[in-house]
């Protein structure tokens, strides 16, 4: 489940006063997936660079899969949920620094 | 044998005629629900016969639950003495057994099947002690089927074969349901045959496909002009094996709107049937052509 942000911050090598950190929030409740199919590679690995329109995860609800984008160009520091976790609307799912 | 009643919330009355399937139980369900349909009681909203049970939806503001129960129990008594005959019809359904579409879908879901090395038909033949798929198809198409329930999804008939219990074809459902089944697939689960009226999820074994639409909200074929649903509980179905050429001709006719089904009026007598099923089936329209 999600870690408190302050605690997670201690571990990040990317923290810098010129950087802005964004929490990516779930637009939907459902089940959180980091990969498009059970046997597929993750959309994005932690630490990778992403563009605003990069798909980083999807949320399954009512048998439909809804892709989530990074919303900000930058580096995806960490996912705050594991593959298959339950997710609520507005819950932070990832941290991106720009 | 008395019926077990249970209320499904404040709007449904559920009635289990028998725990196990039999044509006799189905007939009792149809007799009671048939009378209810004729009597048109205010406050009864839905009358749904099923294989060996039935359910009613009612408006308790118009017809209180206790009053409905009493009414149905009176009918339960009344039908015990009524003649067990039914004015119905026999519908011939052409089937291309072992067709490429259901084979392809079956192959895609093999990991959900009891026997991934066989096709559904090979598995069903073996389960029922037939030495070939052809012999199984002969048994499947050789005796007619009684539509014992319509439902699950719109227009899907459940059918119980009109043979003695020890000749019933029984095949387990898939271990877990498929997410796809072609429309108009001939399916089988437990002792029931079905025809998938729409494409979608399903757990029944797949034996073949019919070119005949049995549910069509557009009602584009003449035999669906009166109702978008072809089947009614009580219909009798005979499966007629066809080959690829006949199937394609039928599909063409469906597209042109000229496709027709052979439908014959029948007065079905349960006692006559039970007395000698094989002879009775031969007496039905088209019976002498079957095996």
């Amino acid at each position: 489940m999600s870690k408190p942000l302050a605690e997670a911050d201690h571990n990040t090598p990317f923290k810098d006063k010129h950087m802005t950190e964004h929490l990516i929030l779930a637009p939907l409740p459902g089940t959180f997936y980091r990969r498009p199919a059970p046997d597929a590679a993750p959309y994005v690995e932690e630490g990778n660079l992403v563009a605003a329109d990069t798909v980083i995860a999807c949320i399954e609800v009512m048998k439909q899969f809804n892709e989530m984008t990074a919303e900000h160009g930058g580096r995806l520091l960490a996912f705050l949920l594991a593959d298959g976790d339950a997710v609520d609307i507005g819950q932070p799912v990832a941290r991106v620094v720009t | 044998m008395s019926i077990r009643y249970s209320f499904g919330g404040d709007e449904f009355l559920f009635a289990e005629v028998s725990e196990s399937m039999s044509l006799t139980a189905c007939f009792t369900s149809m007799a009671i629900t048939g009378l209810l349909r004729q009597q048109q009681w205010p406050g009864i909203v839905e009358i749904c016969p099923a294989n060996a049970s039935f359910q009613l939806r009612f408006d308790p503001d118009i017809l209180p639950a206790a009053q409905l129960l009493q009414l149905v129990q009176e009918l339960e008594q009344a039908v015990q003495d009524s003649p067990q005959t039914l004015d119905t019809r026999l519908v011939e359904i052409p089937v291309w057994y072992d067709d490429p579409w259901t084979l392809e879908v079956g192959a895609r879901f093999r990991e959900r099947h009891q026997d991934p090395q066989s096709t559904d038909l090979q598995y069903a033949a073996r389960c029922n002690g037939f030495d070939s798929v052809d012999a199984f198809i002969a048994a499947h198409s050789g005796a007619p089927w009684f539509v014992s329930m319509v439902g699950f999804v719109a227009g899907l008939p459940f059918m119980y074969q009109m043979v003695e219990r020890d000749r019933q074809l029984q095949v387990p459902k898939y271990l877990s349901p498929r997410t796809a089944t072609p429309r108009q697939t001939i399916g089988h689960g437990g002792c029931f045959a079905c025809i998938y009226s729409v494409a979608g999820a399903g757990g029944y074994q797949m034996f073949g496909i019919t070119p005949a639409p049995i549910y069509d909200p557009q009602q584009s074929l003449p035999y669906l002009a009166d109702s978008m649903v072809l089947f009614r509980p009580g219909d009798i179905v005979r499966f007629k094996p066809i080959d690829q050429q006949q199937y394609q001709a039928a599909v063409q006719a469906v597209a042109e709107g000229s496709f027709q089904l052979d439908i014959f009026p029948v007065r079905f007598s349960l006692p006559d049937f039970l007395a000698n099923p094989q002879a009775y089936n031969l007496s039905l329209p088209g019976g002498h052509h079957a095996h």
Binding site: P27, L28, P29, G30, T31, V61, M62, Q64, N66, A86, D88, I89 | S6, F7, G8, G9, D10, E11, F12, F14, S18, E19, S20, M21, T33, V45, E46, C48, P49, A50, N51, A52, S53, Q55, R57, P60, A65, M149, V150, G151, F152, V153, A154, G155, L156, P172, K173, G189, G190, C191, F192, S197, G200, Y215, P217, S227, M228, V229, R232, P233
Partner: protein, 325 residues
């Protein structure tokens, strides 16, 4: 006289009071899952109570209006925006030809009802405009909305002034924790006494695949069945029965594992034992429970079910009195 669908939303469909009389052919009632909020939206707007509306699910659609009209959004908290400007739910809003309507995601509840003056004009099928997607029946071409669809509007008789709002006391409550009342029965005698009792003591969680057909529940203990010899035709699994009709609201327990509550797009029958039925007064509540929400069940008898039914009808009467007076 039309609305153009720019984005369809998660699952937006045309719904009304639903259709009766065809369940024996496998055609379920369909209709708005939260009948109270659907009726509230129409009454607020001055439409006849059961005028066809759009049922919007979690993520609303984006719609461009081709005509001046009035709208109202009731049910789930999905804030409407007109040309990007936040508006209120449960209020009559004016919208002009060319305006764009979209929604913030639902922050409470699941289903918001967008009523439009005059209603959504799709053909009636079997007595209703409701969409039954499994059967591609009714609604807009028998399916949920897609981008590019053009919805026609009916002739408006709505007179409600813009700005009129529904008093909070008349809005459907959307609690974070729900208790749903159930009349035990159907095949509950197949369960062990301990299992039948435990079902009502545990807290369940709404599974994410829950939809208009049914709500699947997770998180409780598997249910145990009494030993038996399988009746002919029932199937070998202890949860199997000879395929029978399913009441709308009935709770089935495939393999004893994850109970499923059937809603208004129910499959009409099948081969799994059911342990009881959600009472009619609480069926609306189920359709407003979002995925991952917790719920518990309480067992009631028929007298309590009927009392709850009367309370529901009284609430609807108060709504009519407040808005039609």
């Amino acid at each position: 006289m039309h609305i153009k669908v720019i984005k369809p939303g998660l699952a937006t469909s045309v719904q009304d009071a639903g259709r009766n009389g065809h369940y024996h052919l496998g055609i379920p009632p369909s209709g708005a899952l939260d009948q109270y909020s659907f009726r509230a939206a129409n009454l607020l707007l001055g439409n006849p109570e059961t005028t066809a509306v759009l049922e919007c699910t979690l993520l609303g659609p984006q719609l461009q209006f081709g005509v001046d009209c009035r709208i109202a959004v009731c049910g789930a908290d999905m804030l409407p925006l007109i040309n990007g400007q936040p508006q209120a739910t449960h209020q009559v809003l004016s919208i002009a030809a060319g305006d764009m309507l979209d929604f913030r995601p639902a922050t409470a509840g699941v289903r918001a009802y967008l009523a439009v003056s005059g209603g959504i004009d799709v053909p009636e099928v079997l007595g209703s405009r409701s969409t039954y997607t499994l059967g591609t029946l009714g609604g807009y071409q028998g399916r949920c909305l897609q981008a590019g669809d053009m919805l026609m509007l009916g002739r408006s008789t709505a007179e409600a002034p813009a700005g009129r709002s529904l008093p909070p006391a008349l809005r459907r409550p959307l609690p974070r924790q729900a208790t749903v009342r159930v009349l035990p029965g159907l095949y509950d005698h197949r369960l062990t006494a301990q299992s039948a009792e435990r079902f009502y003591q545990e807290t369940w969680t709404v599974a994410s695949e829950s939809d208009r057909i049914g709500y699947r529940l997770k998180g409780g203990s598997p249910l145990q069945f009494r030993p038996r010899e399988a009746p002919f035709g029932a199937g070998a699994d202890p949860s199997n029965i000879v395929d029978a009709g399913y009441p709308v609201g009935s709770i089935q327990i495939p393999a004893g594992k994850e109970p499923i509550i059937l809603l208004r797009d129910a499959v009409s029958g099948g081969g799994y034992a059911m342990l009881g039925t959600v009472i009619s007064a609480d069926l609306d509540v189920v359709g407003q429970l979002p995925p991952n929400q917790r719920l518990a069940f309480s067992a009631v008898d028929m007298a309590e079910a009927l009392q709850a039914r009367q309370q529901g009808q009284a609430a609807l009467e108060r709504l009519r009195a407040a808005l039609q007076g």
